[in-house]
């Protein structure tokens, strides 16, 4: 039942002007926030640092209760899960034996081609304080910050793949912008066809593929990895898989389950390259490996090629 009390009506009439002023102030604040001013960024960082214990304390009970519910739910499917895991272990054993021989072969080839060894990533892991829920923003606060060597722009990963990148750092906490956020854009390449593209978040479960060549033909289930273009993110981190929608459009489904994020690792040795327009010559697109023979009996992707007698 609606019960508009006279006292309420009177107080509302008095505060209408103030309400409008505050709405205007909020609009200005949103625009200022979008401008990414250093002062606003610092205020945000300070306040998120200050409020982090409160957020953690308020989120913890709900997280625990949700965990109990999930445990109860999964208990029913334990038998099926067990069978699935056993088959997976069998498959992995076969893959593992193949991989070890291929690794040796790869090492030999690397030595033969004198490939420079890759720099090992330095990683710092933090615990996610907040849940990534939100209609308009998808970010996560983690409990490592400037004191631990975290900087803005550094990539955030989990055991499954890329989570996002750091957008705000304070002394003890940092905020990670998730891949699925509408403001996130990541340069990628399709692992099977080697076509470069950019994936953009949509605040939903799937990522939009942008700037993909019209000649490219993505395959459903094909893996997508970071290309490293632009120098912001290292190359070769898993992003997701290609999925086809009902309308026939291709999207990327992230490998990371953003709602089960407990620990997030930040790659701290990744230096963010400053953009220098004078020296910038554009990014070279990734090339599809040619079938021509580079080494005797091997093509560029390292696969064995059987030479025909006519050649």
């Amino acid at each position: 039942m609606v019960s508009g009390k006279p006292s309420n009506i009177k107080s509302f009439k008095n505060s209408k002007k103030f309400n409008s002023i505050l709405i205007l102030l909020c609009l200005i604040l949103v625009f200022l926030g979008k401008l990414d001013l250093i002062a606003i960024r610092n205020i945000k960082a300070f306040l998120s640092d200050f409020l982090a214990p409160v957020t953690f304390a308020l989120n913890k009970p709900v997280e625990e209760i949700a965990g109990v519910f999930e445990d109860v739910k999964s208990a029913g499917a334990l038998r099926q899960e067990n069978i699935r895991l056993k088959t997976e272990v069998r498959k992995l054993k076969v893959i593992n034996s193949k991989a070890s021989s291929q690794e040796l072969e790869l090492l030999e080839l690397r030595q033969l081609l004198k490939v420079l060894p890759e720099r090992r990533n330095k990683i710092i892991t933090g615990r996610a304080i907040t849940a990534p829920g939100g209609v308009f923003a998808n970010t996560v606060l983690i409990n490592v910050g400037e004191n631990n060597g975290i900087k803005v722009g550094q990539p955030a990963i989990s055991s499954l793949g890329l989570v996002g990148y750091v957008v705000n750092v304070s002394l003890k906490t940092s905020r990670v912008l998730l891949l699925i956020d509408i403001n996130s854009m990541i340069p990628i390449y399709l692992t099977s066809s080697n076509w470069p593209a950019v994936v953009k978040g949509q605040n939903g479960k799937l990522l939009k593929i942008k700037f993909l060549s019209s000649k490219a033909e993505p395959i459903e289930g094909e893996f997508v990895q970071t290309s490293g273009h632009g120098g912001r993110l290292p190359s070769g981190i898993n992003v997701g898989k290609i999925v086809k929608s009902f309308s026939g459009k291709f999207f990327v489904k992230p490998t990371v389950d953003f709602h089960r994020l407990t620990y997030i690792s930040i790659i701290t040795n990744k230096d963010i390259l400053p953009f220098k327009s004078k020296k910038f010559n554009g990014f070279a697109p990734l090339q599809k490996p040619e079938t021509s023979i580079n080494l005797k009996g091997l093509n560029l992707s390292g696969k064995r090629v059987i030479e025909s007698p006519e050649d």
């Binding site: 039942m1 609606v2 019960s3 508009g4 009390k5 006292s7 309420n8 009506i9 509302f12 505060s15 209408k16 103030f18 309400n19 505050l22 709405i23 102030l25 909020c26 609009l27 200005i28 604040l29 949103v30 625009f31 926030g33 979008k34 606003i40 945000k44 306040l47 998120s48 409020l51 957020t55 308020l58 989120n59 709900v62 997280e63 949700a66 965990g67 519910f69 739910k73 907040t130 849940a131 990534p132 829920g133 939100g134 209609v135 308009f136 970010t139 606060l141 957008v167 705000n168 905020r175 912008l177 509408i182 403001n183 953009k200 949509q202 605040n203 939903g204 479960k205 799937l206 709602h259």
Partner: protein, 174 residues
């Protein structure tokens, strides 16, 4: 004497404001943490709008504009939203309650659910359009529809539960 009364009145007002701030802040955080549950993976319901609506319309508790602004501001900082987005939603929601319900149909028994739907969708649409302009791109619609749908489904459930509890408490009293 009057002076003393005034002091007590302001103290009372201040304590009410602090309590409503704590209450709203708690609801907002609870709302965000609901995404830990797999059912709310896509999006969480807007419990804050249900809370504000029931406070104003049913319980005659009137959270001030400043409290709504502060709650939204802190929530935006904690959740990494654009600063001011939640505050705009909360202030607009309060504004629409005052202009649609309390001014036009005051003291009349009407269907609460319909008015809540109108007010919620109006304020959400405004904030959504504003976000579209700010981000300059169209987001996926499924989380938005889920957010609106689950809020509108939860509202009558919470309403009926409050009615039920008040009925039980009256029964116990009698």
């Amino acid at each position: 004497m009057i002076k003393n009364n005034n002091i007590f009145y302001y103290l009372y007002k201040f304590s009410i404001s602090i309590l409503s701030f704590v209450f709203l802040f708690f609801i907002l955080n609870f709302q965000s943490s609901l995404s830990f549950f797999s059912i709310f993976e896509i999006s969480t319901p807007s419990l804050i709008s249900i809370g504000i609506y029931l406070c104003i319309v049913r319980f005659n508790i009137n959270p001030s504009n400043t409290i709504l602004f502060l709650t939204g501001f802190l929530h935006d900082i904690m959740n990494g939203n654009n600063i001011g987005t939640t505050s705009i939603f909360l202030l607009l929601f309060r504004y629409f309650i005052s202009s649609i319900i309390l001014e036009k149909i005051s003291e009349k028994d009407q269907e609460e659910w319909i008015y809540f739907t109108i007010i919620f969708i109006l304020s959400f649409c405004f904030v959504f359009l504003f976000n579209l302009i700010i981000n300059f791109s169209i987001p996926e619609f499924s989380p938005i529809f889920f957010h609106i749908g689950i809020t509108l489904i939860l509202f009558p459930i919470i309403n009926i539960s409050i009615d039920f509890f008040s009925f039980v408490s009256r029964l116990i009293k009698n």
